[in-house]
């Protein structure tokens, strides 16, 4: 009993230390356990894989660096997949900070695809304030909403943007977000303009999006680091693309921390019930 009491009153710094160890060790010694692929992740993969050469996918980086560890691996993998399939990509963000992340992601992926050219294979759009209004603006006329690209070049002068006026010419729009922005894409891009919308969200937000998956308002979803790991495995298995699987490495750490938390919660409950019985 004394031991259980001590355990219950343990200094929280011990918990922090154990958490840190559980995070760091799997990064140093990866286990590489397989990840089960869920239908929402497979749906996005298949949609992109069935998109013809030269068609357009829009990636919206609606997050800031706070959720970078969870969302960045999936953005990189999807960008890799699009470039590998010769799909043209529009990168944008409804968050001011997201544009910087999109630019860093482009730099990362262009190391694998140095032949991809701005304005021909991809276009990076600047930040425009307005959130949902920007989505509505794209639905009406993307050239009016974004007169120039991020680098200040007139959008009319970019070869890949000449034929694109609104969502009718965009095969799929994927919103990566740490908040509820993907629902804004469902409300406006999908419901008003009939665009195909998918979401890449943090694990904590994934549960909120299931009603939209059931109604097919979202064609697919990547939920947190697990969703990213599923996509990495699909890309590696089907396209034989050998890239750094950041999400799969991260999943080992997540496994260790989840197990640690489950053990702690179970032990804390045993101690709680033992204490209650003793009081009676």
């Amino acid at each position: 009993m004394n031991l259980l009491n001590k355990f219950m009153n343990m200094d929280r710094r011990w918990i922090y230390l154990i958490t840190a160890i559980c995070v760091i060790i799997p990064f140093l010694i990866p286990i590489g356990l397989p990840t089960y692929t869920t239908p929402p992740a497979r749906n996005i993969y298949e949609k992109i894989d069935n998109t013809s050469d030269g068609q357009v996918v829009l990636l919206s980086f609606d997050y800031d660096a706070a959720v970078l560890p969870e969302l960045y691996p999936m953005t990189i993998t999807i960008l890799n997949h699009c470039f590998n399939r010769n799909i043209k990509v529009i990168l944008m963000s409804l968050y001011m900070q997201g544009i910087g992340i999109a630019q860093v992601a482009l730099e990362d992926v262009k190391r694998e695809f140095p032949e991809k050219k701005e304005g021909i294979d991809y276009t990076l759009l600047p930040y425009v304030p307005g959130g949902a209004l920007v989505i509505l603006g794209i639905g009406e006329d993307i050239h009016k909403t974004f007169p120039t690209d991020y680098y200040g070049t007139l959008i009319d002068s970019l070869p890949m943007m000449r034929e694109i006026r609104n969502f009718d010419q965009i095969s799929l729009a994927i919103s990566f977000s740490g908040g509820g922005v993907s629902r804004t894409w469902v409300t406006y891009a999908n419901q008003r303009y009939g665009a195909n919308v998918a979401a890449g969200v943090t694990a904590v937000m994934a549960a909120e999006n299931y009603p939209y998956l059931q109604t097919k308002q979202l064609i697919g979803m990547l939920g947190g680091l697990k969703g990213a790991a599923e996509y990495e495995n699909l890309v590696e298995k089907n396209l034989k693309l050998k890239t750094r699987k950041a999400a799969c490495i991260g999943m080992d750490a997540q496994s260790a921390v989840h197990i640690m938390m489950i053990v702690f919660i179970v032990l804390a409950n045993i101690a709680y019930f033992a204490g209650r019985r003793r009081k009676k």
Partner: protein, 210 residues
């Protein structure tokens, strides 16, 4: 009179936009297009007000030497220096501006947010107890989902179809609850919009219902 004008404008604007939604005509579409671009333009002055607000708050803090005023100086220096770097050397690929963003802003923000993991571990240990039947149910489901959403849990219980069970929990019980919440939120949004249009809710005018 100072309030009557904005209230009338709000009511008329709301009614016009509702009517516009149900008229599939070119004129209606062009009107909507124009309104959307007006609203985007309105967002830009809001950014300026935001910058003014942050400068005002920190300038006051420095002037009155309030606790932590040194951090306010750092904010001023950071904003001015980074903006100047962006204006002088540009914001393109491999620019100094981007290096600062990539190796300072991104790293610091990610670090701050990652600290949440430590607090969550500690909080779950201290407060996640099976005190009532509802809490017990929540605890069991949470443990199943936590275990079933990581590779180690999937690998150990693959024969028991744990990943399928987790997907079922998310796809049915979770979805039903989320849909209920969503309907409630939707009805709330409609009610609040009507209250604003009819002038019952006047908080946006800068007062509380007067």
């Amino acid at each position: 009179m100072r309030r009557a004008g904005p209230l009338k404008l709000c009511l008329i604007g709301g009614i016009v936009m509702i009517i516009q939604f149900f008229i599939p005509h070119r004129f209606s579409k062009n009107f909507f297009d124009e309104v959307v671009h007006w609203l985007i333009v309105c967002g830009v002055p809001a950014l300026v007000i935001g910058y003014y607000s942050i400068f005002h708050v920190h300038w006051t803090k420095i002037r009155r030497k309030r606790e932590g005023w040194g951090y306010s100086i750092i904010i001023f220096v950071a904003v001015i220096v980074v903006a100047l770097i962006g204006f002088i050397w540009g914001v393109g690929e491999n620019s100094v501006f981007m290096k600062i963003y990539q190796y300072m802003t991104m790293t610091m923000q990610a670090t701050m947010f990652s600290l949440l993991g430590f607090y969550m571990a500690s909080a779950a240990f201290r407060s996640f107890k099976a005190r009532t039947p509802e809490a017990t149910l929540l605890l069991i489901v949470a443990l199943v989902v936590m275990f079933g959403r990581v590779p180690i849990g999937e690998s150990v219980f693959i024969k028991l179809k744990l990943p399928n069970l987790v997907e079922w929990i998310l796809m049915y019980p979770n979805m039903a609850a989320q849909r209920g919440i969503g309907l409630g939120v939707g009805l709330g949004i409609m009610a609040t919009s009507l209250k604003i249009m009819l002038g019952i809710e006047r908080g946006w005018l800068g007062g509380a219902g007067k």
